[in-house]
């Protein structure tokens, strides 16, 4: 009798211990959870809601609750914003721009150049490689405004533009780089920064390949290039997939450099989808910020992002990549 009672109390005690452990765990998660909730999740709900309103500077109200519950067609317009968006004559161009921008920057720079830099700096003197990568990462920690200011000075009209000064020296006619070559520069100035992310990930992946394996390949008869092709690249499969997916999503939503460089250019020349959302919602010539319409653009981006993230996580077999916790008992 006594032993049954004591074992029952032991079970109760271990249960309350488990409960306390779980509470501690949630306690640790709480600050991060709070940030995610306030800055990621709630804004997404707000965007969803705003996209079915026609809230703009012209019918501005701060009483969102009244607006939300009023069902007043003055505010709540259902899917009108989306209909208007699909009918927008610039929408197809912007969509194409976005695809071009993401793919070109991703393949040429964020993955391509990142990989090339990682491979090159892994094959030179360790300190030289480290120094080069440290230099390359500087623009990433430079203020975007300052960074773009430098680019604008490079491509500006004469007598200020550096490239045009060279044109003058070589006796060539002055070029307007914001016209013809706008895409070249936008992809480049994004890519130079974007490449540093892949560079770091690939470098650490290359350096974590066991030394013996690298030596074995040389002894087995490979040249440096053959070792890259047959040994290093196959072993970089996961980092390659990761950088590709992560940078796709990140490029989809990045527009700050384009905004600062040429605001998307005249006639949506280099406007991408996220910039379009920003321009519609917050940045118009006539100070008519169409928050509702801009939110509809943003919602499309959210949907594309969620779909791609889901697909990528499947492709990645995300669950298999996440390690079991090392600490089980708190």
């Amino acid at each position: 009798m006594a032993s049954a009672a004591s074992s029952a109390s032991a079970i109760a005690r271990s249960r309350s211990q488990a409960m306390r452990a779980r509470l501690t765990a949630y306690g640790f998660l709480a600050p991060a959870g709070f940030l995610v909730l306030v800055f990621f999740f709630i804004p997404m709900l707000l965007i969803l809601f705003l996209s079915i309103t026609n809230l703009a500077t012209t019918n501005f109200t701060t009483d969102v609750w009244r607006m939300a519950t009023s069902r007043d067609p003055k505010y709540i317009v259902g899917l009108d914003n989306f209909e208007r968006m699909f009918a927008d004559e610039f929408a197809p161009k912007i969509l194409f721009n976005t695809l071009f921008y993401v793919l070109a920057t991703l393949l040429l720079f964020n993955v391509g150049l990142g990989l090339v830099i990682a491979l090159l700096t892994a094959h030179v003197d360790r300190r030289a490689g480290f120094l080069f990568r440290a230099l390359w990462i500087l623009p990433r920690i430079t203020s975007p405004a300052v960074y773009i200011l430098m680019w604008k000075r490079i491509v500006a009209a004469s007598p200020f533009g550096i490239l045009n000064q060279f044109n003058e020296l070589l006796g060539r006619p002055e070029a307007n780089y914001f016209q013809g070559e706008a895409w070249v520069f936008i992809v480049m100035l994004n890519g130079f920064i974007g490449a540093s992310f892949g560079m770091i990930i690939f470098t650490s992946a290359i350096e974590s390949i066991p030394k013996d394996l690298m030596n074995a390949s040389l002894v087995d008869g490979s040249t440096i290039m053959q070792r890259v092709r047959y040994v290093i690249l196959p072993l970089l499969r996961w980092p390659l997939l990761f950088v590709t997916t992560y940078q796709t999503l990140s490029l989809l939503t990045s527009f700050e450099y384009i905004l600062l460089f040429n605001s998307g250019g005249p006639a949506s020349q280099t406007e991408v989808w996220s910039l379009a959302a920003y321009n519609r919602a917050l940045n118009t010539y006539f100070a008519n910020a169409q928050w509702g319409y801009g939110s509809a653009f943003a919602v499309v981006l959210v949907i594309i992002g969620v779909v791609m993230a889901t697909v990528y996580m499947r492709v990645f077999r995300f669950n298999e990549l996440v390690a079991e916790p090392k600490i089980e008992v708190l």
């Binding site: 030596n215 087995d220 008869g221 196959p234």
Partner: protein, 360 residues
């Protein structure tokens, strides 16, 4: 293929990894580089492989200087401690890799891989990946990959260290057998002296980047030229005692505060000629516990080794001896024993230079 090292030196910045090593490995010979970790043996091996460039000195394969020759043009096969199999390739792919790089035709590749796999006993594993293999199987694949291109030189970098004890024993014999059968010159790096003693024709003992000795296993064991070799080769290690060798008539005695034992005349004479304090070395197996012994001591620690008990016997504060004893005697710490020293194989060293007074 004969391998000649001449004044070979490797520095990493200011750190000297390998310090002025010269030796010749004959064609078809099996040479072990033996030494504690950090002694420069692997660095030497990687220079022979062509992974490291020597800072100074010359490496020759036969008469050809190969200092500047890249690894792929040296026709070497190498087996690593970690096996270093390519995880993304199958066993077949791993073994075929050197042939693929040599642009051997596909059919010949397949044929040669099968041949080697059959020899290594892994013919049924060809479509597996390394992660699906046991350590012993991976080791065989690594060996197969080293052999498939019919190398002139086989290099081993502690290949058996990661295997369990029983497998290590059988692989030892197998590697030795293969090497003799194929007649390939082999360089084998190990810190395990038993491995070196049992496998190698000659052993290069290294310490702190320097070559201590390059001799046959028997010579190293019976005629150690330095104190380091005497202490390093042999298990349990040799005992060292500070003694003075005195001559009385035709007999030489090794004398110190704890003992006075006769030593063979020709050895004793060399020690006596040096005069003063010398270091005497005597192996544990040359000491027996005997009623008629002349040296008394107290058992301090008993370590059962199975076949023998290893005793740490204190003669006095300054002198102690490792002794092998029959476990059936059931000696315990605190027991007093008398020891008989068989001094026929006793060694003498100069305490300053640590060089042997008997062999040079």
């Amino acid at each position: 293929m004969k391998i000649v090292l001449e004044n070979l030196t490797k520095k990493f910045g200011t750190v000297v990894g390998v310090d002025d090593i010269s030796l010749t490995i004959e064609d078809g010979e099996f040479v072990a580089f033996l030494g504690p970790s950090g002694c420069g043996k692997t660095t030497t091996l990687l220079m022979i492989a062509g992974i490291y460039r020597p800072t100074a000195g010359i490496i020759r394969f036969d008469d050809r200087v190969i200092n500047q020759v890249p690894p792929r043009d040296r026709n070497i096969g190498m087996v690593f401690q970690s096996y270093a199999l390519y995880p993304h390739m199958t066993v077949f792919g791993n073994i075929a890799y050197p042939l693929k790089l040599k642009k051997v035709p596909k059919e010949e590749q397949a044929e040669r891989v099968r041949e080697v796999a059959a020899k290594m006993g892994i013919a049924n594993l060809l479509d597996r990946r390394p992660a699906q293999l046991s350590g012993g199987q991976q080791q065989r694949v690594a060996l197969g990959r080293a052999l498939v291109k019919q190398p002139d030189v086989l290099l081993f970098d502690e290949p058996l260290s990661n295997l369990d004890a029983r497998l290590r024993l059988s692989m030892r014999g197998e590697i030795r057998h293969l090497q003799k059968e194929l007649g390939i010159t082999a360089v084998y790096v190990t810190h395990d002296q038993v491995e070196a003693m049992t496998m190698a024709d000659r052993i290069a003992v290294m310490n702190l980047g320097k070559l201590q000795a390059f001799d046959t296993p028997d010579d190293l064991y019976d005629r150690p030229k330095t104190l380091f070799i005497a202490g390093f080769v042999g298990n349990p290690p040799m005992n060292f005692l500070e003694v003075e060798v005195q001559r009385e008539g035709d007999t030489f005695y090794a004398v110190n505060s704890a003992l006075r034992v006769p030593v063979p005349a020709e050895r004793g004479e060399a020690a006596a000629r040096h005069g003063g304090q010398v270091i005497m070395g005597i192996r544990p197996e040359d000491i027996t516990i005997s009623e008629t012994g002349t040296v008394r001591g107290e058992v301090f620690v008993v370590e059962p080794l199975g076949r023998d008990d290893l005793l740490d016997v204190h003669l006095d504060a300054a002198n102690r001896l490792s002794v092998l004893a029959d476990p059936a005697v059931h000696l315990r710490a605190g027991d007093t024993v008398t020891l008989a020293l068989d001094t026929r194989k006793v060694q003498f060293f100069d305490p300053q230079t640590e060089l042997s007074l008997l062999w040079r």
